[in-house]
């Protein structure tokens, strides 16, 4: 998809604008049908993307509690955020920990599992299904289950630690471990990433490995010199998807800790949600300002990754699309 985005940009750059009046009657008819077919999306993008995008920008300069009309306060929210809201800084730090940790976990573990499954393993379909299974379980149910897995007194994880002779950890009661607990939980959702990697690995022609073997490359050299370079487009895509998703982590945190203990698991979107829907009166203006900062952060991350991708992403035989 990231590739499609780049290709789309390229296509735009290279094309001269087609003007309506230059079109032949046949082409006009075709254009009318095309526009007719995409009408639902045009309405949708105006109502559910452009309108909220502009409105939340404007609301971020106001005090707004839904009941009364918004009141203009200028840059107050943005100033408050950076000078007078220690929880903003803290939630940003917690989110950074989650994004860094979970993206590395997904990429490394997802890639490792895909490599294991790409070794002509028997019952490939069965293993793939087993590893994918937790990814289809509704997150509410997973949260309820994992609350017990991570239970301090008798949970599954502490039982495991006990079995290998380690002390129990008070996961959600200990500010040092609460965020780590969420990262541990995220290890069981690498299914989607793994499946995408596996499909990429299966697309690498066998001859490349054969050639490397003839040249005397061992397993690790083949991994470093053949597999990883050829997999960079897939790694690129997975990094992008996972970063955008991880910045918005919310549901499991809302259900399992609500930000406790001592705001050690207060993530960015939870902070934003609390201002809009938990606190009384609702602070929708401040919440909108928070949303816009999040948008800018995600945008900058995406832009940097896309811009640097040419340096480390290799496309085989000029195949883009």
């Amino acid at each position: 998809m990231a590739q499609a985005f780049g290709a789309q940009l390229g296509a735009l750059r290279g094309r001269r604008r087609t003007r309506w009046r230059d079109l032949s009657p046949m082409r006009k008819r075709e254009a009318k049908f095309g526009l007719l077919f995409i009408t639902p999306w045009i309405i949708g993008v105006l109502l559910f993307a452009l309108f909220p995008f502009v409105a939340s920008f404007l609301l971020s300069f106001t005090k707004y509690n839904i009941v009364a009309p918004p009141k203009w306060v200028g840059l107050e929210h943005y100033v408050h955020m950076f000078t007078d809201d220690p929880l903003f800084v803290k939630s940003l730090r917690n989110t950074a920990v989650y994004v860094g940790g979970s993206v590395v976990i997904r990429i490394v573990l997802g890639f490792a599992l895909a490599l294991l499954l790409n070794t002509k393993v028997r019952f490939l379909g069965l293993w793939r299904t087993l590893f994918y299974l937790p990814s289809v379980v509704p997150i509410v149910a997973l949260s309820v289950i994992w609350l017990y897995v991570l239970n301090a007194r008798a949970g599954l994880l502490n039982s495991l630690l006990y079995a290998i002779g380690l002390p129990r950890i008070r996961w959600f009661a200990d500010p040092d471990f609460a965020m780590i607990a969420f990262l541990i939980m995220s290890t069981t959702w690498v299914g989607v990433t793994m499946v995408i990697f596996l499909a990429g690995l299966q697309g690498i022609p066998e001859e490349y490995y054969d050639a490397a073997k003839i040249d005397g490359a061992n397993v690790f050299q083949r991994l470093r010199r053949v597999t990883i370079p050829l997999m960079t487009p897939t790694i690129y895509l997975n990094v992008l998807i996972n970063i955008i998703g991880a910045f918005q982590v919310f549901t499991q945190i809302f259900i399992m800790t609500g930000g406790r203990p001592r705001d050690a698991t207060r993530t960015y979107v939870l902070h934003l949600f609390d201002h809009a829907f938990q606190y009384l009166p609702p602070q929708m203006g401040y919440s909108s300002a928070l949303a816009w900062i999040l948008f800018i952060i995600i945008f900058v991350f995406t832009a940097v990754i896309v811009a640097t991708s040419q340096r480390w992403v290799f496309y085989q035989g000029g195949e883009t699309g």
Binding site: M1, F5, Q8, L9, A11, L12, R15, T18, E30, A31, K32, F33, F37, I38, P40, W41, V45, L47, A49, P52, F53, A55, S56, I66, L113, L116, L117, V121, G125, R128, F131, Y132, L133, V136, V137, P138, V140, A141, L142, V144, I145, L147, Y148, A154, S159, A163, T188, V192, I196, T234, L237, I244, Q248, F250, T251, I255, L290, A291, F295, G321
Partner: protein, 294 residues
């Protein structure tokens, strides 16, 4: 030198190769088994503990087999949680959303894939860009708008947007339409079929694999949705399964009744698992398409 030669011949010996291959295979399967246990143990425990007596749930270290099987955990849980209503609500929202998603996304994808019109590529770029827009940015204005038109405490906010196209599903479907040979369409056109007939009678049947993938993604999306129902549905009679389960586990006094919580979780998870096992291939394809087709 001599040492090097011996190791070499040892490495080349047939039995060594066979033994090392056996060991590495055994290690591989051991690793796969350990990882699947790590992935599945929580779900397995959810199912087992949903039949356990309460005092057995709290035993340390954890126990896996119910001392006595206690199916009444399920009936007890259902006393506090109207499963029937939440299930029906979830089914309703899921099915209508699915119809909306399939209808709108196939139409729009076809428009992008098969017609030339001014600004088409720019519009498609915008479509891809909306995938980056965090839901938090839309949350408040959209909520305020629904509040203003009286849609809070109705299913509309969960259903109506699906009739206006989802960028990701449109992307999937367009990729698929692009792969259908133009000759087929030209033949239909020569036979005098109208654009609408070509779409409904040639393209839709051909696009079945893509539609199944969209249907599964849409099903998962509605069934698992938490934030939407949480903010839009306050009336308990409108709650969906996700909210029902959340409210049930956060009821006062429910904090420690883990066996009933696990029974409730099992009830919510089962339908998804059944659909997953029936359509495994399409689930995997759905994850794949985003990766494969670039």
């Amino acid at each position: 030198m001599a040492a090097a030669t011996t190791t070499r011949s040892f490495l080349d010996s047939d039995s060594f190769v066979r033994v090392s291959r056996f060991v590495s295979r055994a290690l591989l399967y051991l690793l796969l088994i350990v990882m699947s246990l790590w992935f599945l143990a929580p779900l397995f425990w959810m199912f087992m503990s949903s039949f356990m007596p309460l005092d057995q749930v709290g035993v340390f270290p954890v126990q896996w087999i119910p001392r006595v099987w206690q199916p009444e955990n399920y009936t007890d849980a259902l006393q506090f949680w109207n499963f029937g209503i939440t299930f029906r609500n979830t089914m309703f929202v899921t099915i209508i959303s699915l119809i909306g998603d399939i209808g709108s996304c196939t139409l729009v994808a076809y428009g992008f894939a098969r017609f030339r019109f001014p600004f088409r590529d720019a519009l498609f770029l915008i479509l891809l860009a909306t995938l980056m827009l965090p839901f938090a940015v839309r949350l408040i204005p959209v909520y305020a708008a629904y509040e203003a038109i009286g849609w809070i405490d109705t299913f509309y906010p969960l259903i109506v947007p699906n009739f206006f196209g989802n960028a990701f599903y449109i992307f999937i479907c367009r990729q698929f339409f692009l792969g259908i040979p133009q000759d087929l369409l030209d033949a239909a056109k020569i036979d005098g079929a109208s654009e609408v007939r070509i779409f409904t009678q040639v393209m839709i049947p051909l696009a079945k694999p893509a539609i199944v993938v969209i249907a599964i993604l849409s099903f998962q999306n509605s069934w698992n949705d938490f934030l939407g129902p949480l903010i839009y549905l306050k009336d308990p009679d409108l709650h969906t399964l996700a909210i029902g389960l959340y409210k049930f586990t956060s009821l006062p006094g429910q904090g420690g009744i883990y066996n009933q919580q696990m029974a409730a979780s099992t009830l919510m998870v089962m339908p998804v698992l059944i659909v997953f096992f029936l359509f495994q291939k399409q689930f995997i394809q759905g994850a794949n398409i985003s990766g494969l087709k670039g």
